[in-house]
Assembly symmetry: C2
Homo-oligomer: 345 residues x 2
């Protein structure tokens, strides 16, 4: 039986990835041709084959069929791709109950992280949250979850510029299935059996990008920025081992697209770097500006993720008593929330 694929999400990244999934589902006998994509305004996609709101100018494969009802979307699905804002999980996921196939597997493309709100302040993976939401009801199955992360500016991927990505999976055989679904000539996907490492990279890079932005804003050159990126990569690795050491964190993950490549892209482009650059310039000029003001002025309604993550990371490493092992994360937090270091430091 061919795999039945459902795409839960239809924003910028969801639509971009639909261009790869659609092509592969058409071309490869492993997959059912039709791919349902969850969206509230299906007519646009189903008539124009274009997401004019979130990915204008890109033709979507005609076997991508939009559907406003998530239960219909995942009916009988064996492979479910999640790419929705993670605050949609709680209202949306319960509607899928009893619909997807037994033994269905899932893949999260959601970049972000949650933290426990009290006690240990432990970081929680979005893929774990998704899994927990799906098995909430009595007798609901445990869906094996993978993630897809990497240096993936959505519009460039949709245009067909060459890009790479990483699947973090629990078992190599599931990794292979996901690679087959996503991999195209211009989108090279490799699997590593390390869900936590791959997913945490996608969230932690935004903290390092704040450091890179401070560096740019203060006019430091290539040496200093390279040092921040390198030390950042090592602290990301350490963070994964400290908090998810029981989950097969692999050193090689950090040399995959989800690790070093996504970090480099984010530290040279990206909204976190940009806003931190402005933040530092304002401090240096003696006219400090709050993060939410910069966010409102620069991001056109988009949200800054690095600042919230930096605060949560700080709480987590404090609760765990490992602040000293993270000098870069600590310094970034200090600059972002306690003003610049005094000249005597």
């Amino acid at each position: 039986m061919p795999e039945k694929v459902a795409l839960i999400g239809s924003g910028n990244w969801g639509s971009a990835i639909a261009t790869k999934i659609g092509v592969n589902a058409s071309a490869c006998a492993d997959f059912d041709d039709k791919v349902y994509m969850w969206w509230v305004r299906p007519a646009l996609i189903n008539e124009k084959h274009e997401n004019v709101i979130y990915l204008p100018g890109i033709e979507l494969p005609h076997n991508i069929v939009a559907c406003p009802d998530v239960a219909t979307c995942v009916d009988g699905a064996t492979m479910m791709v999640f790419v929705i804002p993670h605050n949609f999980l709680a209202p949306i996921v319960p509607k899928m109950e009893g619909k997807f196939a037994k033994g269905a597997i899932g893949c999260s493309l959601i970049k972000g992280i949650e933290f426990e709100k009290e006690g240990d302040m432990k970081p929680i993976l979005i893929s774990d949250l998704l899994q927990a939401e799906m098995k909430k009801s009595d007798g609901a199955p445990v869906v094996d979850m993978s993630v897809l992360m990497g240096a993936n500016v959505a519009n460039e991927v949709a245009k067909g510029d060459f890009a790479e990505a990483t699947i973090g999976c629990t078992k190599p055989e599931n990794g292979l299935k996901w690679c087959k679904l996503f991999n195209t000539k211009d989108f090279a996907v490799q699997a590593v059996t390390d869900v936590a490492g791959a997913e945490l990279c996608g969230a932690m890079k935004n903290v390092v990008a704040l450091g890179a932005g401070f560096c740019d804003g203060l006019g430091y050159g290539g040496n200093t920025k390279a040092a921040i990126i390198r030390i950042g990569l090592k602290e990301m690795q350490k963070f994964c081992k400290v908090f998810y050491g029981d989950r097969q964190i692999k050193d090689e993950t950090f040399l995959e697209s989800c690790g070093v490549a996504d970090l480099v892209t984010t530290c040279f482009g990206g909204r976190n770097r940009k806003c931190a650059d402005i933040f530092a310039k304002n401090i240096a000029a003696g006219t400090p500006k709050a993060w939410d003001v910069i966010e409102a002025e620069e991001l056109n309604g988009q949200k800054l993720q690095g600042t919230g993550t930096a605060q949560d990371v700080m709480k987590a490493i404090k609760a765990k008593g490992v602040v000293d092992a993270f000098p870069l994360f600590s310094q970034i937090h200090k600059i972002a929330f306690e003003g610049p270091p005094s000249p005597t430091h």
Copy 2:
């Protein structure tokens, strides 16, 4: 007995590193205060304490004493730092014969690589060449050689902007000695017992930088460039293992400053990236321009290293029969020397 340090070289990078060595030799009882620096025009340094030709505007520590005679420079030296163009090795090194202390150790800051000219076309480390030159005469000692590599734009290091570097050494105790000599508050040096890995990174990064430049010149975005950098890092690692697998190549070397950090800096700044950007733009515009023309127009007398290294690397991997394991290096060579890939590729 305190270590007696000699600095053989006085160009831009040699003068920049003198600012760190001089400070440490003064401040730390492990070292003799006076550091000889080999240069043909000693009066400039010894009177003005500034290298007005290669590092204008930076005051050198007053315990850096220039000396035009290399034999006097290394007389009784126990630690020798080499930072001269590597075509100076053959004329200069023999003049040191019988002068430096028994058991003296050396550290090469020379970035580059040689290749055997026939047969296997095997890559030869400059640090090995240096060692071989020093032991050429009957009874001459074998000098244990380390290297210092990293993301180190010389003028930024001299100015005191924060930077990191990596010592590649054969034994941890020698690595520690070198760290003590180079390490300052604004120059963080760490040792890894991997001479070949650290040194090869310093040469191979220039090949990857050509790929990054092609990417920029053709207008590809962050995803593609990040992929080139990441695949480049992996091929650098593979190259080290294929040709120097017998020399303790360590995976961690590639996450040190000599690896990922120097590569990132070179792929975003640097002359190889810049000239490759222009080379690709000219091809795309239908007005191709030869490498030596671009070099003459853009580099103000400096030399392009990546192109020669790319050609030598290609010969070496061909001779070894491992071309297929290096798709990025091969493609870079193809674009640089055989014209762009045809549209049917």
